[in-house]
C-alpha cells in the first residue's frame, strides 16, 4: 500500500472533524484540542473514530486511541491523578500523543486536552505506516 503524506492525512482529518463537530476548517489547527477548542463531547469521539475508519479504510479498536485500561486502572489512578507507573504505561500505549503538558499536572480530568488534532493525525499516520 502506498504511504500517504502527512499533509494529506491532516486534510482528511480536518474534513472529518469539520463534518463531525460542525466547526469551520480554519478552527481545526494541529494544536486545537478536540474537547476544549472544538467542543467535542464523549459521543463525538465514537462518531469521529467511525468517520476516520471510513475515510482511511482502517480499523481503530477503542483502546488503541484512548487506553482505558490505564486511565481507569486503580493501580495507576490515585486521587484522580495518574501516578508515575501510570504515566509510563500511558506513554507506551499512546506513542502518537504529546504528553509533555499532561505530565506536569496528570489530573485525569485534564486528560482530554491530550487529544489535539495533531494527536489524531499522528495516530492515523502511525496506523497507516504499520499497514503499508
Amino acid at each position: 500500500m502506498a504511504t500517504i503524506a502527512r499533509d494529506e492525512i491532516f486534510a482528511k482529518v480536518q474534513q472529518t472533524l469539520v463534518d463531525a463537530l460542525s466547526v469551520d476548517d480554519d478552527e481545526v489547527t494541529e494544536s486545537a484540542t478536540l474537547t476544549g477548542d472544538l467542543g467535542a463531547e464523549s459521543i463525538d469521539f465514537l462518531d469521529i473514530v467511525f468517520r476516520l475508519e471510513k475515510a482511511f479504510g482502517i480499523k481503530i479498536p477503542q483502546d488503541e486511541l484512548m487506553p482505558r485500561d490505564v486511565l481507569e486502572n486503580p493501580k495507576y489512578v490515585v486521587n484522580k491523578r495518574l501516578n508515575e507507573p501510570g504515566l509510563a504505561a500511558l506513554k507506551s500505549s499512546m506513542p502518537h500523543a504529546d504528553l509533555s503538558e499532561f505530565e506536569k499536572d496528570p489530573d485525569i480530568d485534564k486528560f482530554s486536552d491530550v487529544f489535539t488534532v495533531a494527536t489524531i493525525v499522528n495516530f492515523v499516520d502511525a496506523k497507516l505506516a504499520r499497514q503499508a
Binding site: 463531525a20 464523549s42 459521543i43 463525538d44 465514537l46 462518531d47 467511525f50 477503542q62
Partner: protein, 162 residues
Amino acid sequence: MRWIWFDRFEQFESGRRAVAVKNVTLAEDYLHDHFPGFPIMPQSLMIEGMAQTAGILVGEARQFTEKVILAKIRRAVFHTLVRPGQQIRFEAEIEHLDEAAALTCGKITCEGELVGEVDLAFAHIDQNMSGLDFPEENFVFTEEFMSLLKTFREHGAEKVRL
C-alpha cells in the same frame, strides 16, 4: 401520550435494519401551523421519526434492556418537501453497536424519491462514562410503549423480539 412519528413497520431485521412508514395527513395540526397556508412535513419531525425508527432498532438489538437515548444528529440533509397525502418511509440501518452506544444511518424516501438522509448516534445511558446514575426503571421503553410496540408487531415487525 407518546408522540409516535410513524404508523407501522414495513420491515424489521433484528440488529441490522428497519423500515417504518408514516402517512402525512392534513388532520394533523402541526401541518397547519408550521408554515400557515403552506402545509409541509417539518424536517425536524422527520428527524424525530427516523430517531424513533432507529432507536427501536437499537433497543431491540439488546432486547430493550438498555435505555437508548438520542445523543447526536450526525448528519441531516434534506432534498425535497413532503406534502399532505404522501407517505414517507424511514429506512434505518445500524452501522455500529457496542456496549455504550450505537451509530445509525438512514434514508427518508417518498414515492421512490430521496427526501432526506439522517445519520444518528444513540447512547446506552446506563453505560455513560461520567458514571452518572439514572433511575432503574426503563423510562425509554416503558410498559405503555412496549404495548404499543406489540401492535406494530402484528403489522410488519413480526421479527421484533419482545
